[in-house]
Amino acid sequence: MSDGDARIFDSNEALSRADGDRELLSELMEMYLVQSKEDIGEIEAAIARKDAKRLEFVAHSLKGASATIAAEQVREQAYRMEKIGASGNLAEAPALLRQLKESINITNELVSKAIAKFRSGTEGRP
C-alpha cells in the first residue's frame, strides 16, 4: 500500500483502532462496505429531496464510520457534507457528492483488498 493510499485509507491505523484484532477489523471493514454504499445512496436522495436535515444526519453517520476504519478522505468529505446539511444551503452539495462517490469507490477498493489480505493472513503478521 502506497503512502498516497494510506491518506485515503490507513489500514495500520484501522487495525490499532480495532484493538489489533484482525478478525474484528475485517468484520468492521465488511460492515463499512455495506454502510458506505447505503449512506451515499441516502445522501444522494437527501440532496435530491433538498432534505438538509437528513443530509446532515447521514453525512455525520458516514463520517463516524469512516473515522472508525481510518478512511480519512471519505471522513473529511463526509464532514464537509455534514456541514453543508447543517447550513441548510445545499448549493455545493451536488459537486461534493460527486467527489464523495469517487472517494468511496477508491476507498472501498482498498478496503476490500485489505480484507482479503487480513483474511488470507499475509498482511500485518510479524
Binding site: R17, D19, L24, H60, G64, A65, T68, Y79, E82, K83
Partner: protein
C-alpha cells in the same frame, strides 16, 4: 461492569461493544436513544454510553431522560457521551443534561479503558458515600431515639427535682425536731418573733409536709420563707373573695358580721379544726404552723378557742402529726396563758 451503549451506526456500535467486551465488561447495545431508555427501564445500568447524534431520541435527550429515571435509584448511573469533534461546542449542554464524561470518535481503546476506569472509580466513591450516608442515617436515628429517651429522663428528673429539691426538702442534715403527736406552744419573744416559723421551716426543709394557718398574707409568707409546696391558709375576713381564688374555702367572715351567734363561733372554729384534721390525716408525721392564736381568742372568745384546741390535741395524737402554735407573750391574758402552757408542750424562748 454492566454497560449500556446506544449508537445508531451499526459499525460503531458493534466496535464499541467488542472493545468493551475485550475490557471484560458486560455490554447491552441499543440502536437509538429510545431503545436505550427502554432497556434502562427494564433494568438500570451503572454505566451508559450514548452516541450524540441518533434518530428518534438523540444523546442529550436520552441523557436527560436517564437522569429523570435514575433520580430515585439508590445507585448512581455514570453517563458517557460519545461525540465527534464537531460537537465539542455543545459540551456544556451535555453537562447540564447530566453527562459525566465525554469520549471522542473514532474511539481509541486506551482512551476508552481510561474513561471506564475513571467512571468505575466515581461509581465506587458514590457507592461508598451512599453506604456512609446510610450509616449516618442509622446513627442519626439512634441519636434521635437516645435524645427522646434523655428528654424523658430529664423531664422525670425535673419533676423529681421540683419535688425533692424544693426549698422545703432541701436539707438532709440531722436536726433537732420537736416530737410528733403533740401541740407545741412556742414562745416568740419580741427579739425573735419568727421563732415558731423557723422551727416549722426546720421540719419542712427536712421533707416533712407542712401547712401554715396564718393571719399574714399567704403570698408574702410563701415568699418570705421560700415555700413552694407548702399550703398556706389565710385567716382573713376577705378570704372567700381572694383574687387568686380562696386558699381554702373558709367561710370565716361570718363571725365578723354583727349578730353572729355562739353557734357561728363554734362553726368557724370547727372549720379550722377540720382543715388541720384533714391535712394531718393525709399521712403520718405532718406539721401544721398555726400563727394567729391571739386573733382566734379575740374573734371567737378564749373559751370557744380553748375547746377547739382540746379537740385539736386529740386530732394531733391520733394522726401522729404535730402543730406549732406561735405564742406571742403579752397578747394572751395571763390565766389563759398558764392554761395553754399546761395543756400543750410549752417551748419557752431560750434566755
Amino acid at each position: 461492569m454492566r454497560i449500556l451503549i446506544a449508537d445508531d451506526t451499526k459499525m460503531e456500535r458493534w466496535l464499541l461493544e467488542k472493545l468493551l467486551a475485550n475490557l471484560g465488561h458486560e455490554v447491552v447495545a441499543a440502536a437509538d436513544g429510545e431503545e436505550a431508555i427502554e432497556r434502562f427501564k427494564t433494568r438500570p445500568f451503572p454505566m451508559v454510553m450514548l452516541d450524540w447524534m441518533m434518530p428518534k431520541m438523540n444523546g442529550i435527550e436520552a441523557c436527560k431522560k436517564l437522569r429523570e429515571l435514575g433520580a430515585n435509584n439508590e445507585e448512581y448511573c455514570y453517563i458517557v457521551m460519545v461525540t465527534s469533534k464537531s460537537e465539542k461546542e455543545n459540551y456544556l449542554e451535555a453537562l447540564q443534561a447530566g453527562a459525566d464524561d465525554f469520549i471522542h470518535k473514532p474511539i481509541d481503546k486506551l482512551d476508552l479503558a481510561v474513561r471506564i476506569k475513571a467512571g468505575e472509580r466515581i461509581l465506587d466513591f458514590n457507592q461508598r458515600l451512599a453506604e456512609k450516608n446510610k450509616d449516618l442515617e442509622a446513627l442519626q436515628n439512634e441519636l434521635m431515639n437516645h435524645n427522646v429517651k434523655l428528654m424523658k429522663q430529664v423531664n422525670e428528673l425535673k419533676t423529681k427535682v421540683c419535688t425533692d429539691a424544693s426549698p422545703e426538702a432541701s436539707l438532709k442534715t440531722p436536726y433537732e425536731s420537736l416530737s410528733f403527736g403533740e401541740i407545741h406552744l412556742i414562745e416568740c419573744p419580741e427579739q425573735d418573733k419568727e421563732r415558731a416559723f423557723k422551727m416549722f421551716l426546720e421540719d419542712v426543709t427536712h421533707n416533712v409536709p407542712g401547712l401554715v394557718i396564718t393571719r399574714q398574707n399567704p403570698e408574702k409568707v410563701k415568699e418570705k420563707f421560700k415555700l413552694v409546696n407548702t399550703e398556706v391558709v389565710w385567716l382573713t375576713k376577705g378570704l372567700s373573695s381572694n383574687k387568686e381564688g380562696a386558699y381554702i374555702p373558709l367561710n370565716i367572715l361570718a363571725v365578723e358580721e354583727e349578730g353572729a351567734s355562739k353557734e357561728d363561733y363554734s362553726k368557724n372554729l370547727a372549720v379550722i379544726l377540720e382543715i388541720i384534721k384533714e391535712f394531718l390525716s393525709k399521712q403520718d408525721q405532718c406539721v401544721v404552723m398555726l400563727d394567729g392564736l391571739e386573733y382566734l381568742f379575740t374573734r371567737f372568745s378564749p373559751q370557744h378557742t380553748m375547746e377547739m384546741l382540746y379537740d385539736m390535741s386529740d386530732v394531733v395524737k391520733k394522726s401522729k402529726g404535730k402543730v406549732f402554735i406561735a405564742f406571742y407573750p403579752d397578747t394572751v391574758e395571763q390565766t389563759t396563758a398558764s392554761i395553754l402552757k399546761k395543756e400543750m408542750n410549752w417551748v419557752p424562748a431560750k434566755k
